[in-house]
């Protein structure tokens, strides 16, 4: 049954990777090559599903599994909330051997009841994991019964870790929203400028750097999927007039689902950097006008873009001298490598290489256009090689996710976190300036001179 559900999310017609494939490749599916035992990195499908849905801040998110699935994992993302923080609680059935022997369904049933009694959430998400999936706990049945008993949605998220990668989990989460959530509620009012943002998770408040732009244009963010979302906001995403898929690898199926079922046009875009942000605003304005919004929205969007871009130019001034000509090694797990390359180039920096591990073919082509050379596009770079590049000074700074940071730091080179564990928001115009500022601060930090200075017992030491 799970395999039946899994196959369609990888036959995603809107997926750029899929579109570029031959028929034979398509038949082979996306899972032809699994991770290599002993040389694998990255999260599992459960991880992907949870990070996609957990930003729904007022829901209870219960992980049905042994302690490793939640005890090692809870509250480890920086998705921010403007209200409830229920989503940050670590809720789990913490399965034991006895639960494996006797089955965990009763425990799950009780756990849901306890969560409802203690937190009174508008909805409960229940995440299936490997062990109860293997022993055959029917979380769909438990969730259906619990939903009836407690008079609120209790949603099974069927994405146990072993079914695939984090990305598979993102998509299964998207499918869960389409199957169980979107279309089950109605907003009090609708406007001609209602939009939906898909796969924007409000990491350290990214969304809040972008939302004021929409507010200024009178565009209403009807449904955030799922950054800083309230459960009920997601239920009426089908009333949006246009949607944008921000991380296309993660949840493009939701954009397409909205289009197919409810005729809502969507586009794939990014808020990484000035050009991408302006492009996103333009596209939204155009789509909304096509859907019946006042035609002056387009002119107002252009005016706002002109104003903001000029402001960015002014605000960039203090950082230009530091950033100009600096060499960057970009090793992001994120899929929008091209948009970060573009951003860094706009800051006057030189990108000496970027990983395109998770990029779509379209994304790879854009990155190649920007860098002019194939050899600057990497798949996975061995850590030893990255270490050498940094140690030998081929790069002045590395931008990457938390796990690869020590390659740079142990080579005593500046590093900036551009993945989900970061502490600063880099979205939109404001985020562009933020990024320039953080890079300047790091590059100019006085520690680098100190950590490269010779020790008293080394050659070249001066008092």
């Amino acid at each position: 049954m799970l395999t039946d559900r899994l196959a369609p999310v990888f036959e995603e017609p809107a997926c750029a990777t899929n579109r570029a494939k031959t028929d034979a490749q398509k038949r082979a599916g996306c899972k032809a090559k699994g991770p290599t035992p002993g040389a694998a990195a990255g999260g599992c499908a459960f991880d992907g599903a949870k990070i996609s849905l957990q930003p729904i801040v007022d829901a209870a998110h219960i992980v049905h599994g042994p302690i490793a699935c939640e005890g090692n994992n809870w509250d480890n993302r920086h998705s921010a909330s403007s209200g409830s923080d229920l989503y940050r609680r670590g809720l789990t059935t913490d399965l034991t051997e006895l639960d494996v022997i006797h089955g965990g369904e009763k425990k799950l049933w009780k756990a849901i009841r306890q969560a409802v009694e203690k937190f009174d959430p508008p909805a409960v998400f229940v995440y299936q994991t490997c062990v109860p999936s293997l022993t055959g706990d029917d979380i769909h049945a438990v969730c259906a019964a619990a939903a009836e008993r407690h008079g609120r949605p209790v949603i099974p998220v069927e994405a146990p870790g072993f079914v695939g990668t984090k990305n598979a989990g993102n998509r299964l989460a998207g499918q869960t929203l389409l199957d169980h959530v979107i279309g089950t509620g109605e907003p009090e009012t609708t406007t001609p400028t209602d939009i939906c943002l898909i796969a924007e998770f409000n990491i350290v408040g990214d969304l809040w750097q972008v939302k004021p732009l929409f507010d200024a244009l009178g565009i209403r963010l009807l449904s955030p999927i799922t950054g800083d979302a309230r459960y009920h906001e997601v239920t009426y995403a089908h009333r949006a007039k246009a949607s944008m898929v921000v991380c296309s690898q993660a949840m493009v199926n939701v954009g397409r689902g909205l289009q197919e079922r409810w005729g809502i046009p969507y586009f794939e875009g990014s808020f990484n950097g000035v050009r991408a942000t302006s492009e996103a605003l333009r596209t939204f304005a155009r789509l909304l006008v096509e859907q019946g919004a006042d035609a002056d929205l387009i002119d107002r969007a252009e005016a706002l873009i002109a104003e903001k871009e000029a402001e960015v130019q002014r605000q960039m001034e203090p950082y230009r001298a530091t950033l100009e000509g600096k060499k960057v090694l970009l090793y992001t797990g994120g899929n929008k490598a091209w948009s970060i390359v573009q951003t860094l180039q706009d800051m006057g920096m030189e990108v000496i290489g970027t990983s395109v591990r998770k990029s779509t073919d379209h994304g790879k082509a854009r990155a190649k256009d920007l860098l002019h050379e194939d050899k600057k596009l990497f798949g996975a770079i061995p850590a030893g090689e990255m270490f050498r590049m940094l140690k030998d000074g081929e790069a002045d700074i590395m931008l990457s996710g938390g796990r690869s940071q020590f390659v740079a730091l142990n080579a005593r080179r500046p590093w900036l976190d551009t993945n989900q564990e970061r502490h600063h928001a880099y979205a939109g115009y404001e985020g562009f300036i933020n990024l320039a500022k953080r890079m300047s601060l790091t590059l100019n930090a006085p520690i680098w001179e100190q950590v490269h200075s010779p020790a008293p017992w080394e050659e070249g030491y001066t008092a």
Binding site: G43, I67, A68, E70, L86, T92, Q114, L134, R403, F406
Partner: protein
């Protein structure tokens, strides 16, 4: 110990829903022990997520590279068996990263399948032959379902001993020390210094202070950056005695004693004057020397610290959340100072806990810490890992951070809790936290204890929230 509070009985939380776990998984603890062996490499036999979650949490706590691999089981292997993946992973790691010790840890997934890993590993060893090179293959029996970090840690040490320990000629004035998971890198440095102050030498297993002490290496290595060396492992039996620190190290110590015929001493805790004194007495006996002046001075400083700290601490109520042996250490110093412990929460029912002088001892989660302490009338201080900040805030009490994980602090591996010096620092930490908190409260009327649960309030991500680190 003086009868400060009534003896406890260990309660099990009867909730089906765990809320804000205190516990992390045993394989994570096993991985940490394996990373404290030079050129060590842990391998989790499970899905990629089992490894990814443990790895990310270890990175967030230590802020160091964490070599940790996975057999990457998919749904096919989950049904048909993961032996091929296990072999392929071991081959890849042994030939590419060439670890000195490769520790294979089962996960809940492989345990549920009841894979016969011991048999698998024997076969794989034979088949790999020379590909295995010098890599020592260790089977860690740390099932995900039983206990937490310290149980996994102890299981990894047991696994290592099982493979390497054998009778060797006795070596005078040398100790093989099995260190518990509750000790920090700073604790281990202090312990080694103390042993060496008696003109004794020692082998620490595991030796976290050699690998995850936060040093900058000259070269990139895909395996751990230090710790107990392979030569030391081969010579575990070459000592005059085995010393184990922490009750959870008793089983590996007894195995080592049985294999090597060395006498075994287990010291439950090195935090608190009495525990420190026992260590010094033991070392005096082993070395035939009396304590050197430096240690006598340290003891005198501790006495002064206890006197100075007790004014703030005596009669204060301290709620503690920690794994069993760390809990024992923290209950000891808190009650030694005259604090009461209305509530202590731990991860598993470990031997000896029932004698701890606490009012309630619950095997539970951080929500139990909060609700049980509220029921008991609140507290003045919380001691626990960084995620306990939520409970501490709800209880309007400061948090002294100990244990794992600490994701909102840098340098926690250099916090010292053990020995005369560590006990002194902990006494100061407790007294200062209480003093500072009371000083704040003097500025305004005291908070009424709110019966309301914190989730109902509007809380934003802010700098001192538990996730605010990466």
């Amino acid at each position: 110990m003086s009868p400060k509070t009534t003896p406890s009985r260990v309660e099990a939380s009867r909730k089906a829903l765990t809320i804000d776990p205190l516990k992390v998984s045993p394989p994570l603890g096993a991985a940490l022990a394996l990373l404290s062996v030079d050129r060590g490499m842990p391998l989790f036999h499970g899905s990629v997520g089992c490894t990814a979650f443990a790895l990310v949490l270890l990175v967030r706590h230590f802020r160091e590279a964490i070599p940790l691999q996975t057999t990457a089981l998919g749904e096919i292997e989950t049904i048909l068996g993961g032996t091929d993946n296990l072999e392929s992973a071991i081959r890849t790691i042994a030939t590419k990263s060439k670890p000195s010790v490769l520790g294979v840890c089962p996960t809940a997934l492989t345990d549920t399948r009841s894979e016969d890993m011991a048999a698998d590993l024997r076969l794989i060893s034979e088949r790999l032959g020379e590909d295995l090179g010098d890599t020592l293959l260790v089977h860690v029996q740390a099932p995900d379902f039983i206990g937490g970090l310290q149980e996994g840690w102890a299981a990894a040490v047991t696994g290592i001993i099982d493979v390497v320990a054998r009778p060797r000629p006795r070596r005078a004035d040398h100790l093989t020390v099995l260190t518990g998971a509750h000790l920090t890198a700073a604790d281990l440095d202090d312990l080694r210094d103390t042993i060496e102050a008696f003109d004794l030498t020692c082998t620490l297993l595991p030796d976290l202070s050699g690998s995850l002490d936060g040093h900058v290496p000259d070269n990139w290595r895909p395996v751990s950056l230090g710790g107990t060396s392979r030569a030391e492992l081969e010579a575990l039996g070459e000592a005059s005695a085995v010393l184990a620190i922490g009750e959870h190290m008793r089983a590996p110590a007894e195995l080592l004693g049985a294999r090597t015929s060395l006498p075994v001493t287990v010291l439950e805790t090195l935090t608190g004057l009495k525990g420190c004194d026992r260590l010094i007495a033991f070392l005096s006996e082993m070395s035939g020397r009396s304590a050197p002046p430096k240690l006598r001075r340290d003891r005198s400083r501790l006495l002064d610290a206890l006197i100075d700290s007790h004014f703030a601490a005596v009669g204060q109520r301290v709620a503690i959340a920690a794994e069993p042996d760390l809990l024992r250490a923290m209950v000891t110093i808190a009650t030694d100072l005259g604090c009461q412990v209305p509530v202590a929460v731990t991860t598993t029912r470990a031997p000896g806990l029932e004698t701890l002088p606490v009012d309630r001892l619950i095997v539970g989660d951080l929500d139990d810490l909060e609700t049980a302490t509220l029921e008991a009338g609140g507290c003045d201080l919380v001691i626990g890992p960084s995620p306990a900040i939520r409970a501490a805030k709800a209880l309007h009490a400061p948090l002294v951070r100990v244990g794992f994980p600490q994701v909102d602090r840098v340098g926690s591996q250099h916090d010292l809790f053990a020995g005369y010096r560590g006990t002194r620092q902990m006494a100061f930490a407790i007294a200062n936290a209480i003093t500072e908190s009371h000083a704040e409260h003097h500025l305004r009327p005291p908070h009424p204890m709110s019966p309301e649960m914190p989730h109902t309030s509007e809380v934003r991500h802010d700098s001192d929230a538990p996730v605010a680190a990466g």
